[in-house]
Amino acid sequence: MTINEIQNDIIEEFGAFEDWMDKYAYLIEIGNDLEGYQEEWRLNQNLIEGCQSRVWLHAELVDGKIIYKADSDAIIVKGIVALLVRALTNQTPDDILANDLYFVEKVGLKEHLSPTRSNGLVAMIKQMRLYAMAFKAKMG
């Protein structure tokens, strides 16, 4: 699936929720379900420290595509982390760099990406793009 196909799926899923409580209950659910972040990756170099919550991000290049794994100590942040990983993992650096992640605004989660929230999410997206730039350079 392309990044935009995944984003459109996410938008459709969120379209089913009538009120904010259901939406956040879903975020909590996918936050709780996010797994696969290995303890050996829980290093300071992978830590994105916000004032409010912390995010860990690990990335590796497999067959020309980037595999992202991430985690957070706050469940709502972790739910959003799970959506970002779902949209961008297993994609090429070029596709990742060309995408603007429009789903975040469409599903009403943009407030979490305000720098004043200081929850690590803005820095996480920046870091995901930096990995894409670095892997792209490495691939030549």
Binding site: W20, Q52, S53, I75, I76
Partner: protein, 121 residues
């Protein structure tokens, strides 16, 4: 500024302090009825604010949900990282009460915290 001082003086600092202490006592008593709620900072003559956590619910999660319910609290380490390290917690949720707050608003805070703790249970 002048108008603000006139306003505060017309009510009286002692009255304000007394009212805020009553709000604090009421909120403390009500919040402590919530299962697994722990208050951080219980000095006898502390200012009218309560720093707390419920179980292992992250303060950001609690603050975010309360915000959605129209309840304003502050969350995070409050620039007191060494103290948070000492308690081994990521931060706290902090509700502050002023002369403009009401007992009814404290009931709403308590109901909100209870609702959030159920969502994360």
């Amino acid at each position: 500024m002048g108008a603000a001082i006139d306003y505060v003086e017309s009510i009286g600092l002692e009255n304000i302090a007394l009212y805020e202490q009553l709000l604090l006592e009421y909120a403390t008593e009500k919040l402590l009825t919530i299962p697994d709620l722990k208050i951080y900072g219980t000095a006898q003559h502390k200012a009218s604010l309560i720093s707390f956590l419920v179980g292992n619910i992250h303060p950001y999660d609690m603050g975010m949900m309360l915000d959605k319910m129209g309840i304003a609290v502050r969350t995070g380490h409050h620039c007191a990282q060494p103290l948070m390290l000492r308690y081994n917690i990521p931060g706290t949720v902090r509700a502050s009460f002023g002369m403009y707050n009401t007992f009814d608003e404290i009931d709403r805070l308590v109901a909100g915290v209870l609702k959030v703790s159920q969502m994360f249970a």
